[in-house]
């Protein structure tokens, strides 16, 4: 008996989506013109299935022009009941007023009818440091970092999750488009840079403080990936006074960026080579000068190499930077259209809000793409 074997010819699935991943998106107007969060909310919603509803968040630059000379602290007070959340605020306020002059504060406006679950009390304070005693000699920013580390490690249920000037983070548990609606980012705020994150948490439990972006002063990080070098990065940063408290690996990137860029004043091009250095095989083939530089960077900053798969968008005042790990295990697409500069996990999301683009490209692993403001307002 003869079997007739037929091979059914199926059309290959062209649209094969990776669902176990986070989504990141960033949009910047390099001329400094500000725009609402409506576009980025639409773009991130297009990558809905990359998240699982357990975290979403936004960083927005240029949103507080009326208070631009003051540090904007966004505080999260957690607790099982409204009572407990207010109690956390009452524990925190004296510390804040002791160490800072507060020029204005309010609860961050939100829509109560929103679908997000279990929101904490979210408050913002516009402050200026009130340095006393030994602290008087500290630069403002070191003083603020020290105070934030104190709050985040010593005061129960109170977390400073945004602390830069003329910028702010908004984040929580939910899909990013829900978080955007909860804080009404499409109506209340205008920014020249927006970065967004949709989360698919795997290693850490979902809680509001654990959503991205992670930030310190004006540096924010949204991250897709998992850092296998976390333990190493963490001890190195702890030596420099950074306390890792948010139960997730992404905060080490924010602290590393703060240490290297703000405190040690290394240019972003070198910072990228620290976080995602070239492999030794490539370094050994470079000319003497480059070889020496990159060898020294790896020697000195080996503990800050971010190992494991990642793509990140780092936001700073006047800057938006995209970077992937050195063997490029997570996606990142960059695009420009006129003054607009986009970074996204998927090109489709960029096309959704800007169908016509001047250029679109996939950055190489370990090579940063940098968007800078032409005229900082």
């Amino acid at each position: 008996m003869e079997f007739k074997i037929t091979m059914p010819r199926k059309r290959r699935e062209l649209y094969n989506k990776e669902i176990c991943a986070c989504s990141i998106f960033g949009a910047m107007n390099r001329d400094g013109e500000r725009f609402t969060g409506a576009g980025v909310m639409k773009a991130i919603a297009n990558m809905h299935v990359r998240g699982n509803g357990l975290g979403g968040g936004f960083a927005a630059y240029g949103i507080y022009p009326e208070h631009k000379d003051y540090y904007a602290f966004h505080l999260m007070f957690t607790g099982g009941s409204a009572e407990a959340r207010m109690a956390a605020k009452r524990d925190f306020d004296p510390y804040l007023y002791e160490n800072f002059d507060v020029v204005f504060d309010e609860e961050i406006p939100h829509r109560d009818e929103s679908t997000v679950s279990d929101p904490p009390l979210v408050w913002r304070y516009f402050v200026t440091p009130n340095k006393k005693g030994d602290d008087a000699a500290l630069p403002d920013e070191d003083y603020i970092v020290a105070k934030i580390m104190h709050v985040n490690t010593q005061i129960d249920n109170a977390y400073v999750f945004s602390s830069g000037k003329n910028m702010g983070c908004f984040k929580g548990v939910g899909y990013p488009e829900e978080i955007g609606e909860y804080f009404m980012l499409d109506r209340l705020y205008q920014a020249y840079t927006w970065t967004v994150h949709g989360r698919f948490p795997t290693n850490t439990q979902a809680w509001w403080g654990g959503a991205h972006p992670f930030s310190l002063l004006d540096t924010t990080v949204v991250h897709n990936g998992e850092i296998s070098s976390y333990g190493t990065n963490r001890w190195y940063l702890e030596m420099y006074g950074y306390a890792c408290t948010l139960q997730t690996d992404t905060e080490v990137i924010a602290y590393a960026a703060d240490l290297l860029m703000r405190r040690q004043r290394l240019p972003i091009e070198l910072v990228a080579k620290i976080l995602a250095p070239p492999i030794w095989n490539s370094i050994d083939r470079m000319n003497e000068k480059e070889k020496k530089l990159l060898t020294t960077l790896r020697m000195v900053y080996g503990p800050l190499l971010m190992n494991g798969p990642f793509s990140i968008i780092i936001g700073q005042t006047g800057k938006m930077i995209g970077l992937t790990d050195r063997i490029r295990l997570r996606p990142l697409t960059a695009a420009t259209r006129g003054p607009m500069f986009y970074l996204s996990s998927e090109e489709a999301s960029i096309r959704l809000i800007s169908p016509e683009l001047d250029s679109v490209w996939t950055p190489n692993g370990g090579e940063p793409v940098i968007g800078e403001l032409n005229n900082i307002a």
Binding site: S228, Q264, L297, M299, Y301, I327
Partner: protein
């Protein structure tokens, strides 16, 4: 006096297989086997057997078996055979019991209670056969900040950097001196180190002049309390200098190379008269405090023009983490710590078996102490004493070591079977002896190849384990305790190592 000690080994000869070639007789320096021409057969004296298995391996007919003898005494949990026989030997001789190799007592081997992590789903594991896997390591002080000056994309480094050793794999050969081990064994270590992109440590016996040019670049030269063989050329031909303060097998004890091992060559390398005992005092007599150590560190830096990292080797003892911090502040670039199970060519047994702490706990507490003080990057840690396989190295690095020294493992690779008779100078494997007839048994070509093979095999395995964890550069594993979990450990042990229990 009649000895009441029973033989430790029994030699079983298959008379049907034995061809009376007398090979075993020639192989054994202890005189275990003798030929009886009247009977035309070989007689073995169990009392003389060290259990080194040399005759077994080299019998062309596979006629010999050497087995440990069961205890002839009534079982007694308190009075083990070893305790009784050691006592008898002392009653017979009135002496200190000497032994060789590392502590063999059943202290907990922490390596065997630590398991490693691997990636699943959220983080891809990396295949070292397809992707780069980087084990290159820098040993030495690193600055807190690297200051640069940038000028139109041109970057200039402003920070003055300390000298660092570069190793292609985090495995170095531990200090074993020429004098304790044979010239061939010593040269095999040097050859294998150069071949494998790593370093060997000369120990305290100097570096023979003819080896300096070829092997100096992969040598760490030691300065120990006896100051043997030290001159400016010795210090400057090497890549690094190590001050030996202590040794894991005998913390607090000096060294004693008996005159019969001091051959003309050993004597000229050590710069002492031939045939005299080479005695290393217990302390350095110019180091009675940390500030004295600092002076020696800087004296050596001056002598080497600040071009070579200076290492300080100490035994892991109770308060060593604080001492380690002092050593870093005294100016050392590398701290080598030697644990409880570190080996030796000769040590009093009571010391070897009872002094010091396990290296696993030591690495972690030193690393933590230096991190807490914010000076971890000012020195590198090399862990020694009890590293048996590649997984031990991965665990050591994850606990905070920068690299490891292997001594016993290297000896086993060359042929050692840990019979613990190093102190007799009669090593049948040609390793721990100065008898030219025995030393000649060790071929430098073969032994160095075996050592290089071991380094290569372990490096492959380390890459494999790292790839599984989703890590492609060793620096991302260093101090990364997240990738370790303990099994069957007490809370305090987990605490000291800074690791979680399995399942946590």
């Amino acid at each position: 006096m009649k000895s009441f000690v029973f033989p430790e080994f029994r030699i079983i000869r298959d008379e049907a297989k034995c061809g009376q070639c007398r090979g075993c007789e020639r192989q054994c320096a202890f005189g275990t086997h003798t030929y009886d021409p009247v009977q035309d057969r070989l007689i073995s004296d169990d009392y003389k057997c060290a259990g080194c298995q040399r005759c077994v391996v080299f019998c062309p007919k596979n006629a010999i078996e050497v087995r440990p003898t069961p205890s002839p005494y009534r079982a007694n949990a308190s009075w083990s055979r070893e305790k009784m026989e050691d006592l008898k030997k002392q009653a017979e001789t009135g002496g200190v019991i000497l032994t060789g190799c590392g502590n063999d007592k059943p202290f907990r081997v922490y390596w065997d209670h630590i398991v490693l992590n691997a990636s699943q789903v959220t983080n891809p594991s990396i295949d070292p056969l397809r992707e780069p896997m980087e084990l290159r390591t820098f040993l030495g002080a690193k600055p807190d900040v690297m200051e640069v000056k940038t000028d139109k994309g041109d970057v200039e480094i402003r920070t003055k950097l300390s000298p660092n050793l570069v190793v292609e794999t985090p495995i170095l050969f531990s200090a074993m001196s020429y004098g304790a081990i044979s010239y061939n064994a010593f040269r095999s270590l040097a050859t294998a180190a150069c071949k494998s992109g790593t370093y060997f440590n000369t120990g305290e016996g100097g570096l023979p002049k003819e080896m300096r040019e070829k092997f100096g670049k992969c040598a760490i030269v030691q300065v120990a309390s006896g100051r043997f063989g030290i001159d400016a050329e010795y210090l400057n031909c090497a890549s690094a200098v190590e001050i030996k303060v202590g040794q894991g097998a005998k913390p607090g004890i000096g060294g004693h190379l008996p005159g019969e091992k001091v051959s003309a060559e050993v004597a000229s390398t050590r710069m002492i008269p031939a045939g005299t005992d080479a005695i290393s005092p217990a302390p350095h007599h110019d180091i009675y405090s940390i500030e004295d150590l600092s002076m020696l560190i800087y004296a050596l830096k001056e002598a080497t023009n600040y071009e070579k990292p200076i290492s300080v080797k100490i035994a892991a003892v109770h308060n060593f983490a604080a001492i380690g911090s002092g050593i870093v502040r005294a100016g050392a670039d590398i701290i080598a710590i030697d644990g409880l199970r570190g080996g030796t060519g000769a040590a009093p047994k009571a010391i070897r078996d009872n002094v010091g702490i396990p290296i696993e706990l030591a690495i972690s507490s030193l690393d933590r102490r230096l991190r807490n003080e914010g000076i971890r990057n000012r020195c590198s840690i090399i862990a020694a004493g009890g590293i048996r396989c590649s997984a031990d190295i991965v665990k050591a690095v994850a606990l905070g070591a920068d690299a490891v020294y292997i001594g016993t493992s290297a000896l086993i690779a060359m042929g050692c079977n840990l019979c613990q008779k190093c102190n007799t100078g009669k090593c049948n494997w040609g390793i721990c002896t100065q008898d030219p007839r025995l030393a000649g048994r060790l071929s430098v070509d073969i032994a160095s190849q075996r050592l290089a093979n071991l380094i290569q095999a372990w490096s492959h395995e380390i890459s494999e384990m790292m790839g599984g964890m989703g890590i492609n550069a060793l620096e991302s594993l260093r101090g990364n305790r997240d990738h370790l979990r303990g099994v069957g450990l007490y809370e305090w042990e987990l605490e000291v190592m800074g690791i979680k229990g399995a399942g946590e």
